[in-house]
Symmetry: D2
Subunit: 308 residues, 4 copies
Amino acid sequence: MSTKIYKGVIPPVVVPDTDDHKLDVVSFERSINRMIDAGVNGLFFLGSSGEVVFSTDNRRLQVIEEAIRIVNHRVPVFVGIIDTEVERVLEHGRVAQELGADVLVATAPFYALGGMAEVEEHFRILHDELDLPIFAYDIPVCVHIKLPWKLLAKLGAEGVLAGVKDSSGDDVSFRYLCQENEKLGHPMTLLTGHEVVVDGAYLSGADGSVPGLANVEPAGYVRQWRAACAGDWATVKAEQDRLNEISHIFDVTKGVQGYAGGVGSFKCALHLMGIFDSPQMPRPVKPLTGENVEAIRKVLVDNGLLEA
Amino acid sequence: MSTKIYKGVIPPVVVPDTDDHKLDVVSFERSINRMIDAGVNGLFFLGSSGEVVFSTDNRRLQVIEEAIRIVNHRVPVFVGIIDTEVERVLEHGRVAQELGADVLVATAPFYALGGMAEVEEHFRILHDELDLPIFAYDIPVCVHIKLPWKLLAKLGAEGVLAGVKDSSGDDVSFRYLCQENEKLGHPMTLLTGHEVVVDGAYLSGADGSVPGLANVEPAGYVRQWRAACAGDWATVKAEQDRLNEISHIFDVTKGVQGYAGGVGSFKCALHLMGIFDSPQMPRPVKPLTGENVEAIRKVLVDNGLLEA
Amino acid sequence: MSTKIYKGVIPPVVVPDTDDHKLDVVSFERSINRMIDAGVNGLFFLGSSGEVVFSTDNRRLQVIEEAIRIVNHRVPVFVGIIDTEVERVLEHGRVAQELGADVLVATAPFYALGGMAEVEEHFRILHDELDLPIFAYDIPVCVHIKLPWKLLAKLGAEGVLAGVKDSSGDDVSFRYLCQENEKLGHPMTLLTGHEVVVDGAYLSGADGSVPGLANVEPAGYVRQWRAACAGDWATVKAEQDRLNEISHIFDVTKGVQGYAGGVGSFKCALHLMGIFDSPQMPRPVKPLTGENVEAIRKVLVDNGLLEA
Amino acid sequence: MSTKIYKGVIPPVVVPDTDDHKLDVVSFERSINRMIDAGVNGLFFLGSSGEVVFSTDNRRLQVIEEAIRIVNHRVPVFVGIIDTEVERVLEHGRVAQELGADVLVATAPFYALGGMAEVEEHFRILHDELDLPIFAYDIPVCVHIKLPWKLLAKLGAEGVLAGVKDSSGDDVSFRYLCQENEKLGHPMTLLTGHEVVVDGAYLSGADGSVPGLANVEPAGYVRQWRAACAGDWATVKAEQDRLNEISHIFDVTKGVQGYAGGVGSFKCALHLMGIFDSPQMPRPVKPLTGENVEAIRKVLVDNGLLEA
């Protein structure tokens, strides 16, 4: 099972909601096509910013079905099968593989407290009982466990894990992982989820990125990846600098935190840019309004993504 | 909707699994009946120690159905409807109320990051769209948010919350909540989930307790509650001292953490005492073995719960 | 070395500063005498709320000298010798014992990361090289290490520690410690630092309390301790309820955090009550002003500590 | 006051102790000269790994005096003036500037809880009352506060801060800081303290590094810096890969944590390499022994720093 095809820019797809909280299929198709046309190398559905934990099982099913229909084999489809513990994760995994996903992405167990013995067993069970490549999603800010790089490397070497999506905020650990993976013959695809430090991650040896901001500006991340492949580090850095200016949509808002500010700013921007018909957020989160919208509009205008 | 009936000892029911990970209905019935016979005032199913996050939706359904059949109106049935975000929680809530639960218990949202605006809206939606009394389950060790006592008091005064199960480990906050609830006319039932400090919580004005250890030794908690109602604080304290000696089943184990050591020690003890047919744990957690079992056996023997 | 004398209410003494950041000896004497006259059982200088980490070595010396002069053997004098690591703590300890302190109070090491081996060795060195009884000050919110009750009990049984001041916020751990200390023959004096849950701590078997709020209202804590000694738990609880109403000086302020709000509210209240000539705070902290002062005034008036 | 001279590799100097815990001046001189001869661009004394918080005031004085004598103006001397709160930090700062330091390095206040208002005021006081350039040392793992990049940029623009040593583990924040500093005209020197991800930091625009591992292998970091200045990113990355192999001295030890494992492994390596006469650690920390020494020896041998 080659992982060589899973390289490059694989955005976590932000999901558009209608005002009455249904999946907005038209906007979804528009946004997916825009990213594929820009040259992304894959798409990751039902990640943290893809509303996975907000979605009922029926909604997850609908997102996967529409995603696979729209993508139509143009790029590989990664599907998040995120849930609290392994029996529930397995259920999501079986649905996703039946519907035609290419890769399954799972976090460590969460809510119940445990140790690394349980984390390791969790990924082994997923590998044993599912048929697709499993990527570990390392996101301690949500899961409250950091996956140790030595454990990840071991599971990669044994074929349990096909890759890692690193949203750990721990660049030291990620760099060790990249280096160890290389020494082991590169069994895993290693992707950074930290969209504002992709340049450093590529220099470290990352195989690609999962930048939420690529929903807003996919072309920049695609150019950056191609520059990295060519060893043109000055361009890699310059593209990052430009993307980071756009990323200030995250920090110009006031009075909102977490998902409301993060994914909220993506949806606000996509709505302003005419890609999403509504900035609606999943309950109990509210969309950004008023001055926060204007602040995001200014960032988009200043960076040439929107006319004044 | 009176909350006066929800007082006293309401154990979070530990769920017995067969060796092949099915619900062991015979052991479940034995344990539930033992607690009711001991005089508990209610039972809480699908709490953190009731394997809620380990259970698929089908398994949750089965646990509730069997619980309601076995309890058969002898005591009120509390059901945990714990999941990541509100649409998923609502689905569990609708199932539980249809099956005949008396009270629904929900945590704050988890996994996705948010602020108190989202937490408040979450509980308001649950209250608006479900028909049963809602208890807030304050368990930051799992959910990674502490519910502020001022927010809880406000939601209680408005009738959004009927009660709180406090597993926050924050006795200062709980004491303020008890005092404020009293000043507001006692709209909420306030239960402590910290089984080794129930004496202090009762003195603080708690309406009851949700002690996991009552699965192992319900009679002691029942005597303690009755002493508290009678204002016999020396007995309240003495019962707690005795229960705490039994609670060392939590800390005599080695090499295990979190759920494996906590709920694992309950299941091990219940197995040794002949109440559970198996100490099996939900995957990926393993049951306690070897020296850990012997250490727990010794605690039970030393405290008269098992013959040597 | 008997620890029996160290029981009851031992307030951590708040230090008055002049507007130009000198020790205000007159206010200091007024406040100390007021607490001794109210019947407190000891006084703790240079604790966290006693500006210990804000004070230069010269200022610490001056505080101890004045404290010992003013107290003049009426009650035992506890002195905090808090610093980052053991050689520095030893220096403070030698000064304090030379000046006539009765008990030395030390935290675990902080700033540098370590484990329990270092914590244990730290307290052993203090015990070996200093001549006075050593109390461990368990304050993870400042030190970022929780002292495990099993380690504390072991060090107590061996005579390394003469007592513990618990500001850990972990009532479960404190209750286990009290119970274990009793089983060991009560070698240690166990004091709670959590002023709003002293009632529960006394019921748990605490030997006394170190309530910052006793700077503002010593008489209530003294009455509460006497009621606890008499086994009159209803009064213990009622006094706590009243004290907690006064404690809202902590949470009626806005726009301030940590020390500025906590010790700041004490100084503000003592200034309003005419005990401190100035509400000045140590740099870089600013005293409370404006609406925050008015909010605290209202709490004091509502609770009969100040005329309207 | 130009900060342009403060660029490149500025190791935090590890301090050798004699077996009886005195400063080992001979080893200190040997190690300092070795680093200067290798071409480092500055030296940072009394940083976290320079035993600052373990050192009494007399010991700090001795370290600074010997450092300045040995360095003898060959490279700039950075001195850590780390202590809990501002009056104490000022005292250390006055001593260091009198003795001839070039730059003073201070953390945020610690132990007492506070907010950003206090942090900002703290750095302003240091700037106002001391005469040397002030670097902010961002080390939340010790100080438990993360310095926000927007605050740092503001203080840099105003001339309050001359630089930042970033040991925050937050590469996202550091990258934003570098980018903002550039937009502001580069008023601050920005140094990364994360020795295993220096390559990414240089690509991000860092002005230099403060790598503890340069005590063990200064030449590699010097070559890496020169490659970065030349825009030879392949070499920057390759040098990092090699250095990271050496850095496994940190993680081959067992049964030790924090300072004992981190600085302990440096001292062990320097002792094995004949640079330090003793691996002694400051009390209460113990030097590495037995299998841990052998594991570190193996890393050094495998990487050509020691003969087999």
